[in-house]
């Protein structure tokens, strides 16, 4: 026991004197969590709170153009900036390049007349269907000049899709209003009253969004709840840089030769490193969670809500840390040089994080990746954490994530043992 204790003390001393290693293990993940959460939070707010600047150039002189602008404004996603109708398209795109706005909409000059013509055509068809006499369906609306939407290339596809959907819904509203008015006028030979128009067009059913949860708390997840667990897992696995490097360094320097001639098994070195670095991963998790809970609100970020099942959180962190440490030791045992350990370690963690759903959510991945992701220990770590942080689950609820993680950790340990034997290290 004294041998193990001395080895742990030795490892802790070496670890705490390696300032660069400490920065890599604690500083970098903390910066990563803060940066990523900030970015994701601002994306979230861009869509939900902050309005995206949109240049609007109304070349139409009729009512439909103004109604279309009002409808876009009412969506609440955009901060509209009017552009004079004679502004050239080049001027508009230049302003976008200067980041005055990320989006621009150009309403064509014949917008109102074409909307009107389309409304008459649809209303006429409808009246004829009812057996009433309506206007003969014309062809005026068929050749309508399209609305032009310019977007800055920095906008991602998902955001562009939601913008397009919003603008279509505004256009739909304008068209529906005009069809309704035309129909009403054809039947009653008088204008549609404003109150009725409002009742028919504006009193929509609302959508009640409820996040599902295992504890029934219905807390709305925020960017912190998503990011902090994900990047904590990433940080834990990044001990591979320090730990595998330390094992290779020890193998390559003279101390290893001495250790092999002493009456103690080398496996004690690895046992000590497991204990020391497991403590490091737990400390990493504690630091990152503490930052999420206490520092994030003062930075204008949503606070991290810790799961109610604190023992579950401790156990999941312990298992994630153990798996991360096992992986790092395995790399350290097989690598011949520090460059191999660091290069393979870093790249493999990024790949395992990517296929594990840390960078792109699993549900958004292609089908084949959804099978591959199951071999990534980071995937099971993340799922276990999400079960606690997002779904409000308890340890028993996430057993199906913990069991595969445990199996992967055991497999890595067995591979390490095999590596130690074939390399005659034990």
């Amino acid at each position: 026991m004294y041998k193990l204790w001395s080895t742990i003390i030795k490892d802790v001393r070496i670890l705490t004197r390696d300032k660069v290693g400490l920065i890599l293990m604690f500083g970098m993940p903390v910066i990563l969590v803060i940066v990523i959460t900030n970015i994701q939070n601002s994306t979230f707010e861009l869509v939900n709170k902050n309005k995206t600047p949109l240049l609007i150039c109304n070349r139409d002189t009729g009512e439909a153009g103004r109604q279309f602008i009002q409808a876009i404004d009412k969506i609440g996603m955009f901060r509209l900036q009017s552009v004079p109708k004679d502004q050239s398209e080049k001027n508009i795109t230049d302003r976008m390049h200067a980041k005055d706005a990320l989006l621009a909409v150009i309403i064509p000059p014949d917008f109102s007349s074409k909307i009107d013509a389309k409304a008459k055509k649809v209303a006429g068809k409808a009246l004829n269907t009812f057996g009433l006499e309506g206007d003969k369906p014309g062809t005026a609306g068929d050749s309508m000049e399209p609305i032009t939407l310019y977007y800055h290339p920095i906008l991602q596809q998902t955001f562009r899709s939601s913008v397009q959907g919003a603008i279509y819904s505004a256009l739909q509203l304008v068209e529906s209003r005009q069809i309704l008015k035309t129909l009403y006028f054809s039947i009653n030979e008088k204008q549609l009253p404003d109150t009725l128009e409002n009742d028919m067009l504006n009193n929509r059913l609302t959508i009640n969004e409820i996040p599902i949860s295992l504890d029934g708390s219905r807390k709305v997840p925020n960017a912190s709840q998503h990011n902090v667990p994900a990047w904590t897992v990433f940080a834990m696995f990044f001990v591979v840089l320090s730990l595998s490097g330390s094992i290779v360094r020890e193998k390559l320097n003279g101390s290893f030769i001495r250790l092999k001639t002493l009456p103690t098994n080398y496996i004690l070195v690895l046992l000590s490193k497991q204990i020391t670095y497991l403590a490091v991963t737990m400390a990493q998790a504690a630091v990152i969670f503490a930052i999420g809970v206490w520092l994030f609100p003062s930075m204008g970020l949503p606070a991290l809500n810790l799961p109610l099942d604190s023992s579950g959180l401790f156990f999941v962190s312990l298992l994630c840390g153990w798996c991360a440490v096992s992986y790092a030791i395995c790399i350290g045992v097989f690598a011949q040089t520090q460059e191999q350990a660091n290069g393979f370690g870093a790249v493999s963690i990024v790949i395992l994080a990517a296929i594990g759903g840390l960078m792109v959510p699993g549900f958004a991945m292609p089908g084949s990746f959804r099978t591959i992701m199951k071999i990534s220990p980071l995937h099971w770590c993340l799922e276990a954490y999400y079960g606690l942080f997002l779904e409000g689950g308890k340890l028993k609820d996430i057993l199906m994530n913990i069991i595969p993680l445990f199996i992967i950790a055991i497999l890595i340990q067995l591979i390490t043992l095999w590596g130690l034997k074939i390399k005659k290290l034990i």
């Binding site: 041998k3 070496i14 390696d18 320097n253 101390s255 030769i257 001495r258 001639t261 002493l262 103690t264």
Partner: protein, 251 residues
């Protein structure tokens, strides 16, 4: 009858892929409390033999007994009997001498109290008391060599294997190390020493073996060998028996 310190019988060993030196039906006996020198040109097999005796390499056939204990059968327990001073610095540069001795002392099977006592003794003997708590990375080559030695003898081994223990040090450190080794030997420690510092070897060793390509080409008391080959010093004897050509062609 006292067992031999080292008894090598019919040793067979070769590196994988037939590269490097190999041993076949190799025999060597080193008596207890002897100051034994193992010499030879580069690639002769000195370090390989040292690694085989200390268990760092596994022999293919034959046996090596350390104080009567078969290294194959006794496994790790035989390691308590000897100390090894490798040519490379074999300690943690991030730690101080005290911290290194504390760790290696524990790994050598000593208890905390004994480690503390031995640490104080050894640091005093080897002139490291003043820097006992400083990180080793800042030490001079001589100080590092002395610490390398201190770690190897902390558990009072009965046999000490020394692979170039004084390489790259100044005269003062060399004299201090050699004197300390003689002191250990007076107290019964067997020294198995290898070096290219032949004048130092002449001073330290009573008995020598000259190795070449995995074979012993001379093995006797140093004085007898010098007389037999009509040489005044070890260097002349060495060149006389191994020739003047470069010998480090094994990669």
């Amino acid at each position: 009858m006292n067992p031999l310190a080292v008894d090598i019988e019919n040793l067979g060993f070769s590196y994988p892929g037939q590269s490097g030196v190999s041993f076949s039906h190799f025999n060597l006996k080193i008596a207890v409390a002897e100051r034994f020198g193992l010499f030879g040109p580069n690639g002769a097999g000195k370090t390989t033999l040292m690694y085989l005796m200390t268990g760092l390499l596994s022999l293919r056939e034959g046996s090596i007994r350390i104080l009567g204990n078969d290294t194959k059968r006794q496994n790790k327990s035989v390691n308590r009997l000897f100390g090894f001073i490798p040519q490379d610095f074999s300690f943690y540069e991030e730690l101080s001498p005290v911290e290194n001795l504390e760790f290696f002392g524990a790994w050598s099977g000593l208890h905390r109290k004994e480690i503390r006592k031995r640490t104080t003794e050894l640091l005093e003997i080897l002139g490291l008391t003043e820097v006992r708590n400083k990180q080793v990375r800042k030490f001079s080559g001589g100080m590092k060599r002395r610490l390398n030695l201190a770690i190897g003898v902390i558990h009072r081994p009965r046999i000490l294997f020394l692979d170039e223990p004084t390489v790259g040090v100044d005269v003062q450190t060399r004299v201090a190390i050699i004197n300390y080794l003689k002191e250990l030997n007076k107290n019964g420690t067997t020294l198995v020493y290898t070096s290219h510092q032949l004048s130092e070897a002449e001073d330290l060793c009573e008995k020598i073996a000259l190795l070449d390509e995995g074979k012993i080409i001379a093995h006797d008391d140093l004085t007898k060998l010098l007389a037999e080959h009509r040489q005044e010093g070890l260097e002349g004897l060495f060149l006389n028996l191994t020739g003047k050509n470069y010998r480090d062609y094994h990669v």
